[in-house]
Symmetry: C2
Subunit: 105 residues, 2 copies
């Protein structure tokens, strides 16, 4: 689990506890844009991330109920990541960041 901001009565801090770690928001961006993503898809779109960091972030997102894994192949068995309803509900946060980034180059 990531380090909490430990500011219990602040809704901004509560959101940051879930998505404030480095790379998590960009994983969320990829999943919002593309729907299902395999591990290697994340590696291709985020070449700066070490695989163990990527694994750790996805595991935390899964523990926090933002993503889940589903099979996309039986032989060999393969899993891909998809957003849960809770994960999809973070769309407006990513959109607000995208809107700002588009306006401020």
């Amino acid at each position: 689990m990531p380090k909490s901001y430990e500011i219990e009565d602040c809704p901004v801090a509560r959101t940051l506890d879930l998505i404030g770690e480095r790379w998590t928001l960009l994983l969320l961006r990829d999943l919002l844009l593309h729907g299902a993503r395999r591990f290697q898809d994340f590696q291709e779109s985020l070449p700066g991330v070490a695989p163990n960091t990527l694994s750790a972030r996805l595991k935390t997102m899964e523990e926090n109920g933002l993503v889940t894994r589903q099979p996309y192949s039986e032989r060999p068995p393969r899993l891909e990541y998809v957003l849960t309803e809770r994960g999809w509900s973070l769309g407006p946060v990513v959109k607000a960041m995208r809107d700002w980034g588009l306006k401020h180059r």
Copy 2:
């Protein structure tokens, strides 16, 4: 300067390069809520942050054109932090996080 995500064509990554460091978004929250803030105000609202971390974050925000310092006392000379127009324009990002945090307790 914080470590860049180095994903130049992504507006989300560009926004994160400015506000993605730990604590920066909560400093932004305080300034959006209260307008001008003194250094000790931040220390009071964010007791978990080391003073040197707080200084470093405020300095980076100043370098990135998000905050500026203005005098609020001449004797002794004292400065307080205020948002620039560019800093205020990040309001919708903080609001989206706040809205999410209020809905998901």
